[in-house]
Subunit: 310 residues, 4 copies
């Protein structure tokens, strides 16, 4: 499989982990999910991320899922694997393992003990050393990691560590960060890396306007991200917003902590992608009132998409 | 001015604090702002809240603004004043002062040292003691206070402290909390208090569906909250959502930390309510790219409101 | 190996993870360390804890170290293994694996998403279900987990989950918590479980006075904890304090975040227990000034121990 | 009163706020407390700090206490006043007010929203602007503010803002920070400012060894800090440690969150300095078991001080 590069763009979908109602991994669901994402036009897949249910897997299940996904896409799409760990040794071990399977790159978030600019730089410099030639994504996700990395620190890392090829941008608010990074690469002060944005896609049009290359997030309608990114790429800003606005009420609902993932799986199950909406323990489930909310939003979304011809 | 009661409903707008470009309080702006909110149909005003710029005021400015607002509404609308403080003595002092001016009630958030159910209960029991007969609002805002208060703890407070007449609901996600509280008051297990919702109105339709009585938040178009609440009240759920969806792209933009308040003031200045969009120091300002975002959203919002005839 | 029970008392030492200078696991060091702890009179060993360097191990290294330790003590001492994980599946997998090797019990800390009393109870109820007959330790460590568990919640867990046999007490301050738990078990309201205390032993005499059964912590002189616990057990409070006070200046120094672990390993290496004081990456090292501090404290400690005849 | 300068050294005691049993300010207690601190040899006083009970005062009480303290010391000792506030306007207002009364300087902690190196610098640059000619103390207290300020950021502030004359050092662990700051001022790279250390004095001997100028903390025996600082100043390191070690068991006990302040006031009341050990609401009280702990520690401390002839 080709390695991840600075030129990556489009939509790298954050995959869910499908389980059966009794909590076993739903292996056929994994296959159907990969096929579904590919049909909807995503450019890549990201698995074993910080959130979602990857941390609930045993280490053997994690590797098996990585293998299953990588085998299923069979090189047609790049796969990025989250390898964040408290130490460099387990991080490198998992990275080597998935790169051997055919992953295109790995993703690393900073430890929550990171406080100052120099500490953030030092951590990612040591990540670069540990990962050797493997290309990697800097996951900048302050809401979860509690670590804020200033643009000039990212630039310092990009300058010194050539294997850092992508920023998963999930600062909130972070529009000015994208602008700052693009300004310095436009001036030739620093290498231009790929910037893909998270946060459930909630700020995707504005992120594209600042120079992002696409999205890396898991909203249950990949069509939204694909549509926004494609239309922005060809300059049709209003169309991008039309599509975004049609999906926004549901995307917003899905961004609720906890209930959001249950909502995402409910829709994916309803769309026939996964066979069960169940979360593995510990994990919540939608109440009847939650389901009524989601159904109301889906009905309105369908109607609105028809109105705009999407 | 009439005192706040459990029957409160509608939209209590969280007022901004208007400053001139050089950071002085814009007293005429305070008056215009009050008039504007009243014209747009809000049911009440909330001032000196946790967020916003009230903490940047000197204590004398705080009292002067409270007085100016209370005098301006002249009893036509109830005014709720935030009195959260690290000790009961300064809390009571401010509460007595604003109630003497004619406020309708006060609002209190818990200290961040609150950890267990019993600690949350004990804090609010002592608040009830300290405030005497003054009706007060329990501000439940985990994202800022880092304190989560379970529904059964709120019920215990409501049962024992008769002056607790309202919940400012800002848990996130918190839809199930509204449902739980309404279920127990419907069964007669606990007094029914008013529930007004925050979070910039981002979940207002769903909150109304669970039994909320309205909103207490500061989005720059009070029309949105008023429209959603009124239409829900008369049973026109789809109309409520139509209005909500039209404003949602901007409401979402305004929920960005830091930049959100600058965006809110930019729109209020553009609407002629306040004379300057400036934040008092320390505080940010919109970049040109931010302004381009807001203007794009405003243009689309105007168009969409025309389409739906609102 | 006998299973952990409510009757456990004494000193369960938190073992360090020995590495060579270049970061490999020092297997002979593991053996020497186990022997050393046994010679110094500890009652049990705790491995793979939340802090320390266990999270820097690969999963295979973790299991190998658990096996090495369990084999080395050969049933002479009970071994408790930390199995905290984000999901019940990986927690159960590791627990089954180490119990098969001959561990005496496992230890579980709550996820940081735990906020209310009911959530803490529900988590530990599901832990009890997942672990089957394996006896387990409730790790109460708010400083790291950010979860505070009130005494009455612990009592509710103890009442409903018979396999919860021990509290690793590391609340800070937590003396009143020990007192509350002992009061309710003395009155027969709840089963009496073992309480072993952490926090580097910094409050050990006072914890014993409130009814703790001993210590579970990793200070580089197990002699201190053994001496305090033994003397308290036989009623010689002043002697317990004499011993404690002699070691306190060093114990305090070792409680510094980050530098503390480096200091602990420095002393253990100096004592000939482990061959290298190195921390695995990422991890700090003592500066010359730090070493001067530790040496000064050691010299004074030796002198003071002579004065008190210990 | 003379203004605070970079040459400040010795012990600036953090004063408690004395209340009567029913929660009123104990004005005579304020006077006695000032006299007591002066008799014990402190070099200065710090009032209205972040912790303690100053935040429980009404704003009028705060100013009255500042005035009472400043009048009582009558220029014999410098008084530093905490003026940390969410905005520059209330900070400047309080600073001007207390400097008019005769304070020697003010102290400012950063807002918890400070994340990156540049943000910390920008905040203190604006503090310098806002405070005019008033000398001020940079309060570096990550445990409470959640803001970590790297040595090179402090150096940048010291270089650009001449009115920053002192660091209240309360990082934990922070010994290497003192060393880094002293190394750069020794090389002439940056102005040498005063460094006084907090954390209840728990690391005072080691802090002095790294180049601190003294302590700014509130342990109930100022004699400890005075003794350690004086003996370090004249080169008698062992004597400094002897004194420190004698007080350490109690100093450690006093560092417990919540219960610590109650313990401090208990001892000050027992020593006849304040008339009541009561904390203003909300605030805890010592249990009988806590009092037994403190009394045991006091008895042992008295004995140990006799043994070392202090």
């Amino acid at each position: 499989m080709p390695l991840l590069t600075e030129d990556a763009k489009g939509v790298y979908i954050i995959a869910v982990t499908p389980f059966t109602d009794d909590g076993a991994v739903d292996w056929n669901g994994v296959d159907r999910m990969v096929d579904f994402y590919e049909e909807k036009g995503v450019t890549g897949l990201t698995i074993l991320g910080l959130l979602g249910e990857a941390p609930k897997l045993t280490s053997e299940e994690s590797r098996s899922i990585a293998k299953r996904v990588i085998d299923r896409v069979a090189g047609r799409l790049p796969v990025v694997v989250g390898v964040t760990a408290p130490g460099l040794a387990p991080m490198r071990e998992l990275a080597e393992s998935v790169m051997d399977m055919g992953a295109s790159g790995v993703m690393v978030a900073p430890p929550w003990t990171t406080k100052t600019d120099d500490q953030a730089y030092a951590f990612y410099a040591s990540v670069g050393d540990a990962l050797g030639k493997t290309p990697w994504v800097l996951q900048d996700y302050p809401l979860t990691t509690n670590v804020t990395i200033a643009p000039k620190v990212i630039e310092r890392i990009v300058r010194d560590v050539p294997t850092c090829v992508m920023l998963k941008h999930e600062d909130w608010p972070g529009l000015s960060k994208i602008g700052a990074l693009r300004a310095s690469s436009d001036k030739g002060e620093v290498r231009r890396i790929s910037i893909l944005c998270g946060n459930g896609g909630l700020f995707l049009p504005e992120e594209m306007a600042r120079g992002a290359d696409g999205a890396m997030t898991g909203f249950c309608y990949p069509e939204m991200m694909v549509g926004v990114v494609e239309n922005y790429a060809k300059g049709d800003v209003q169309r991008a917003h039309d599509i975004f606005d049609a999906y926004l009420p549901l995307a917003r609902y899905e961004q609720q902590q906890g209930i959001g993932l249950a909502s995402r799986k409910y829709v994916l199950a309803k769309r026939g992608v996964i066979s069960s909406a169940a979360l593995r323990k510990p994990g919540g489930a939608l109440s009847n009132a939650d389901i009524a909310d989601v159904e109301r939003l889906l009905a309105r979304q369908t109607k609105r998409l028809q109105e705009i011809g999407a």
